[in-house]
C-alpha cells in the first residue's frame, strides 16, 4: 500500500491510542486525584500558588470564574502591547528586527492572547527573540485559559446541584504545569533531535555549493514549535510555519507535530467522560466529531494527491499530486490530511500553503473552521460543541413534546437564548466582515494575491480564520494593513471570549437548577441517535449560513478548472 496513506493511518491511530490514557490523566488532574507526577508538581504548585497569593481551594461560581479569566487576559494584552512595540530596543534581538507598529502589535497580541495566532508579520524579520518568547508564553497561557474554562463546564455536570465550580486559578495553573508543560517538553526534545534549531545565535551567512551567499535565520524554535502544537495555537516561529524545513524537518517531525496538535483535543473529550462518569457520552461526542472530520479530510487527501487538472493538461507527470506550496519530504497525502486537522482543531499551523490547495480542498478547510467544533481547539473545542449539544437537546425535546433536559437539568429560554447568540455570532462575524471588506476595494481587493473567485476566498478565509480563532491563512493576502489588523483584531476578541462566556454561563445556570432523576421519557444523550441529531444540527446551521458565500468562492472556482 502507498506509504503516504499508511502514514496518515498511523498518525490518526497513534493519536487515538494515547488520547484515552491522557484523558484519564487529565480527568484525575482536575478531579484532584493522585497522579504519578505528584511528586514534582505538588510542591511546585504549592510554591506557585503562595507566590501568586491564590488559595486554590477557594470555590468560585461561574461569574467569578469569568471575572478572573477576563482580568488575567487583559493583563497579558497590556504587557504584550508594551513588549512588541518596544522589542527593537530590548535585549535578545541579534538580527536587529524593528519594533511593531501599533496596529500590527494590536493584532498580534490579541491573536496570541486568544489562542488564534493569525500572523500578519513574518517571524524571521518581524520579531526579536524576546518577542518570540513573549508569544510563546501566550501560547502556554491561552491554551491553559481555554482548558480552565472547559473544566468549569465539566464541574457543572458532575455534581447534582451546585453553584461551587472550583477555582479558576487552580484549573488554569494545573492545565499549564501538569498538562501543557510536560507534553511540550517531550515534543521539544524530540524536535531538537530531528533538526529543529534551539539556539540564541542570530542569522548565519554561508556560501552555497554554487558559490553564492545565503543568509539563514535561526533561533530558539524547538520550544516554540512544541507548544504551538500542544496548545493548538499554530503560530509559526518562521514565516512559512510548519512548511519551513527548520520547524518541520522530517516526516517523523511531521507525524509528531500532527500528533501533538490533536492529542489534547482528543483527550479532553475522553476526560469529560471520565470526569462526569459518563464514558459512553464521550464516545458519542468523539463519534460525531470523527465522522465530521473524516468527511472533510478524505476528500482533501484524495484531491491533493490527484493534483491540479490545469497542470495535468500541460502534459507533464503529475503523479506526485498538487505540489505548489507543498514540501517534498511531507508529500501531498499527509499535507491534505494536515490541512483539515489544523482547521477542524483551531491550531492553524500549516505545512503547506492553503492558498494553493485545490478549490474544494480550500472549501473544506473553510468549512472546518466555519463549523469549528469537530475536535476543536484545546478546551474551547468542547465548549463550541457543547453549544450544538444544547441546540440538539432543545430540538429533540420539541420533537417529542417534552421540556428539554440535559443530564437531569431543564434547558429553558435563558440558556437557549445564549446558545443561539453564540451559534449565530460566528457566521455573523465571518459574513459581515467579508462583505464589508469586499465592498471597499481599496482595503480589500487591493490586498489580494489572486484574481476572481479565489480572491473572494482569500478574504473569506481571513475572517473565517479570525472568527474560528484558527490562525491559518490564505497567506497570499497582503494582510499587514491597518484595516486587516484592526478588523480581524476585533473579530478575534469577540469570537474568543463570547464562546467562552456563553457555554460557561449556560453550564453555570444549569448547575444551579434542581436535579431531575432520569425517567422513561428522558432523552438519552449518550446514544448514536442523539449523535445523528447533533450532527444534523451542525450540518444544517453550517449549510444555511455559509453555502451562498462558498458558492461564490471555492465552488465557482472549482467549475472554472474542472
Amino acid at each position: 500500500m502507498n506509504t503516504e496513506i499508511v502514514g496518515i493511518f498511523a498518525m490518526f491511530l497513534l493519536t487515538l491510542a494515547l488520547a484515552i490514557p491522557l484523558g484519564k490523566y487529565i480527568s484525575k488532574v482536575y478531579g484532584l486525584e493522585k497522579t504519578w507526577l505528584d511528586f514534582i508538581f505538588n510542591p511546585l504548585e504549592k510554591m506557585f500558588f503562595k507566590l501568586s497569593g491564590v488559595n486554590p481551594d477557594e470555590e468560585m461560581d461561574w461569574k467569578q470564574h469569568l471575572k478572573a479569566l477576563l482580568t488575567i487576559n487583559l493583563i497579558w494584552f497590556v504587557l504584550g502591547m508594551i513588549i512588541l512595540m518596544t522589542q527593537g530596543n530590548l535585549p535578545m534581538n541579534p538580527d536587529g528586527n524593528p519594533s511593531m507598529s501599533a496596529d500590527l502589535a494590536f493584532n498580534t497580541v490579541i491573536s496570541f492572547v486568544v489562542n488564534c495566532n493569525l500572523q500578519h508579520y513574518s517571524g524571521e524579520s518581524g520579531l526579536s527573540y524576546l518577542g518570540q518568547f513573549w508569544l510563546m508564553f501566550l501560547q502556554f497561557v491561552s491554551a491553559g485559559t481555554g482548558m480552565a474554562a472547559a473544566v468549569v463546564v465539566f464541574r457543572a455536570f458532575r455534581d447534582k446541584s451546585t453553584t461551587a465550580l472550583g477555582n479558576f486559578y487552580a484549573y488554569f495553573m494545573k492545565s499549564c504545569t501538569r498538562i501543557l508543560l510536560p507534553l511540550s517538553f517531550v515534543v521539544a526534545i524530540l524536535l531538537v533531535f530531528q533538526g529543529t534549531p534551539m539556539t540564541f545565535e542570530g542569522k548565519d551567512s554561508i556560501t552555497t555549493l554554487e558559490g553564492n551567499v545565503q543568509e539563514v535565520s535561526r533561533g530558539p524554535a524547538a520550544g516554540f514549535v512544541a507548544i504551538k502544537h500542544i496548545g493548538t495555537n499554530g503560530g509559526g516561529f518562521f514565516g512559512t510555519n510548519g512548511a519551513h524545513p527548520f520547524e518541520n524537518p522530517t516526516y517523523f517531525s511531521n507525524m509528531l507535530e500532527m500528533w501533538a496538535q490533536m492529542i489534547i483535543p482528543f483527550a479532553m473529550i475522553f476526560a469529560f467522560g471520565f470526569f462526569i462518569k459518563r464514558r459512553k457520552f464521550s464516545w458519542m461526542i468523539f463519534g460525531v466529531m470523527t465522522v465530521g472530520f473524516l468527511a472533510l479530510a478524505i476528500p482533501n487527501v484524495i484531491g491533493e494527491m490527484q493534483g491540479n487538472p490545469m497542470i495535468e493538461k500541460m502534459g507533464i507527470d503529475t503523479s506526485l499530486g498538487a505540489m505548489e506550496g507543498k514540501e517534498t519530504r511531507i508529500g501531498a497525502a499527509a499535507t491534505g490530511y494536515w490541512s483539515i486537522a489544523t482547521t477542524v482543531i483551531s491550531t492553524g499551523s500549516v505545512n503547506s500553503m492553503h492558498d494553493s490547495t485545490m478549490p474544494l480542498s480550500g472549501m473544506n478547510e473553510l468549512l472546518a473552521m466555519m463549523i469549528n467544533s469537530f475536535y476543536g481547539g484545546v478546551g474551547v473545542g468542547i465548549l463550541n460543541f457543547f453549544i450544538f449539544i444544547i441546540l440538539a437537546v432543545f430540538i429533540s425535546g420539541l420533537m417529542v413534546g417534552r421540556t428539554p433536559e440535559f443530564f437531569g437539568k431543564k434547558v429553558e429560554a435563558r440558556e437557549m437564548k445564549i446558545a443561539m447568540i453564540i451559534a449565530l455570532m460566528h457566521p455573523f462575524l465571518i459574513l459581515v466582515g467579508t462583505a464589508l471588506t469586499a465592498a471597499m476595494p481599496e482595503y480589500g481587493t487591493a490586498t489580494l494575491n489572486n484574481p476572481g473567485f479565489h480572491g473572494l476566498s482569500e478574504m473569506l478565509y481571513e475572517f473565517t480564520s479570525a472568527s474560528a480563532n484558527n490562525g491559518s491563512g490564505f497567506e497570499g493576502l497582503g494582510d499587514n494593513t491597518v484595516w486587516w489588523n484592526v478588523s480581524t483584531g476585533i473579530v478575534l476578541v469577540l469570537a474568543r471570549f463570547l464562546p467562552i462566556i456563553g457555554p460557561v454561563a449556560i453550564a453555570g445556570l444549569l448547575a444551579q437548577k434542581k436535579f431531575i432523576p432520569e425517567g422513561d421519557g428522558t432523552l438519552k444523550t449518550d446514544t448514536a441517535t442523539f449523535g445523528v441529531v447533533t450532527l444534523t444540527v451542525i450540518v444544517i446551521i453550517a449549510a444555511l449560513a455559509f453555502f451562498p458565500v462558498l458558492a461564490l468562492g471555492p465552488i465557482a472556482e472549482y467549475f472554472t478548472i474542472y
Partner: protein
C-alpha cells in the same frame, strides 16, 4: 477586579519565569547534545558548509536542480507563491518552467517532467526533490560533466532517502547532499 488584578499579575510573573526562562533554557541545555548543538544540522563541502535541511539555489548544468522557489532560497525570509490553482498568470509561469526545462534537457519527453520540478515549494527552502526529478536530469548532467550515466544512476540510488521505517511517507532525495556526492565522484 482589584483582587483579580493583583492575583493575575503575580501569577503572570510566576509563569513567565517558568515558561520563558526555565522551559526554554532546559530545552536549550538538552539541545547541546543534538547535532551541531541545536544550531541546525550542517553538511561540509569544498571550503565551506551549508545547512542540510535548507535548500540552495542550483542553476548550473553540472548540478541537480532543486524545486522552484518563490523567494529564491532566501533562508532569512521563507515564503511561497500562494498562487491559486486557477490563477492564469500562475499557470503561465508553470508553463514557462516546463518549456525552459525541456529546452535545457532536450532528451526528456514532456510527459516525463515531474510536477515538483515546476511548482514552487511551501517554504521556498525545500531541500528535497523526488527520485524521478533526479533521474530526469541525468542526461543533462552526464553531458555537462562527461561522466558515465550508469554512475549517476548509482549515485541517485545511493542518495535516495526511503520512507520512515520503510512504511511511512514519501521517498525523496536531498539535493545538496546529492550534489556534494556528485562533486566527489571521479
Amino acid at each position: 477586579m482589584k483582587e483579580n488584578l493583583i492575583k493575575g499579575i503575580r501569577m503572570t510573573v510566576v509563569l513567565l519565569v517558568l515558561f520563558v526562562v526555565i522551559y526554554p533554557l532546559s530545552v536549550w541545555a538538552i539541545a547541546q547534545l543534538a547535532p551541531n548543538k541545536g544550531k541546525g544540522e550542517m553538511v561540509a563541502y569544498k571550503q565551506s558548509q551549508g545547512y542540510s535541511n535548507i535548500g540552495q539555489t542550483f542553476t548550473k548544468d553540472i548540478y541537480f536542480w532543486g524545486r522552484p522557489s518563490a523567494i529564491d532560497y532566501n533562508a532569512a525570509g521563507s515564503g511561497a507563491s500562494n498562487k491559486g490553482a486557477s490563477n492564469e498568470e500562475y499557470l503561465a509561469v508553470v508553463q514557462g518552467r516546463i518549456d525552459t526545462f525541456l529546452l535545457k534537457n532536450p532528451t526528456v519527453k514532456k510527459s516525463e517532467v515531474p510536477v515538483d520540478l515546476v511548482t514552487a515549494s511551501g517554504s521556498g527552502l525545500d531541500p528535497n526533490i523526488s527520485v524521478s526529478s533526479a533521474k530526469v536530469q541525468v542526461d543533462r548532467i552526464q553531458k555537462a560533466r562527461n561522466i558515465d550515466s550508469e554512475k549517476l544512476i548509482t549515485l541517485i540510488d545511493a542518495n535516495t532517502e526511503h520512507p520512515l521505517l520503510g512504511a511511512f511517507g514519501p521517498t525523496k532525495i536531498n539535493v545538496l547532499k546529492l550534489n556534494i556526492a556528485l562533486d566527489q565522484l571521479k
